[in-house]
Symmetry: C2
Subunit: 124 residues, 2 copies
């Protein structure tokens, strides 16, 4: 599994910045150098360099040096962890909400049976 200290905290934090997400998107079409990555943005090269370091810290990108060029590539592994957390949580939440929903529907049926009036509005 090789899962070396993948922190949900750091991954989510790294992903929460639009510039960094754009960098990742760019990297999805293949390796790129720092300057290439920086080019589309209006900020300084140094700023982008810092963003990259954040992504690296979260293990979302890998760095490979070739001479003076640093070639960045994507590492999708941490995404799995996030995806995992999300689907797990969402299942819990919606399960609970679905149960509530069922309950409400049941009550609705009971209520409409009791009142026999059409056109009555429900709350929410």
């Amino acid at each position: 599994m090789l899962t070396k200290e993948l922190s949900l905290d750091e991954t989510l934090m790294a992903l929460s910045d639009p510039t960094r997400r754009a960098i990742l998107k760019r990297l999805s079409s293949g390796e790129a150098r720092v300057t290439e990555l920086a080019q589309p943005f209006s900020m300084s090269l140094n700023a982008v360099s810092k963003h990259i370091r954040v992504l690296e810290r979260a293990h979302l990108v890998r760095r490979r040096r070739d001479g003076r060029e640093h070639l960045l590539s994507i590492n999708p592994e941490p995404l799995d962890e996030v995806a995992n957390w999300i689907v797990t949580q969402r299942r819990l939440w919606t399960a609970r909400l679905d149960a509530l929903d069922e309950l409400l529907k049941a009550e609705d049926r009971a209520a409409s049976k009791a009142s026999k009036k059409k056109g009555e509005k429900h709350e929410r």
Copy 2:
């Protein structure tokens, strides 16, 4: 659709804190008051109150007042946006990586055919 300004930035940022994720987890088993939510943590009530506000700002929880009690509940909607982004991106990334992988395998086959020497090392 009702999607009122759901920001990926804010959602991911809100999720990137362990306390907040714990709060959400707690809320998956139903509504809770602020004090209830704060109870398991070692920090002050005010700190938790702030965390809740962050979650609210990201539309991950909703607040309903009943007298002096504020009842918090979960809203799973923003999670969809995140999940969506993740699966989309990951598909792109892995597609690309799989293609690369295929390429490398093909080259490996070609190389071993060409050199016919065992024990040769590949780079990285």
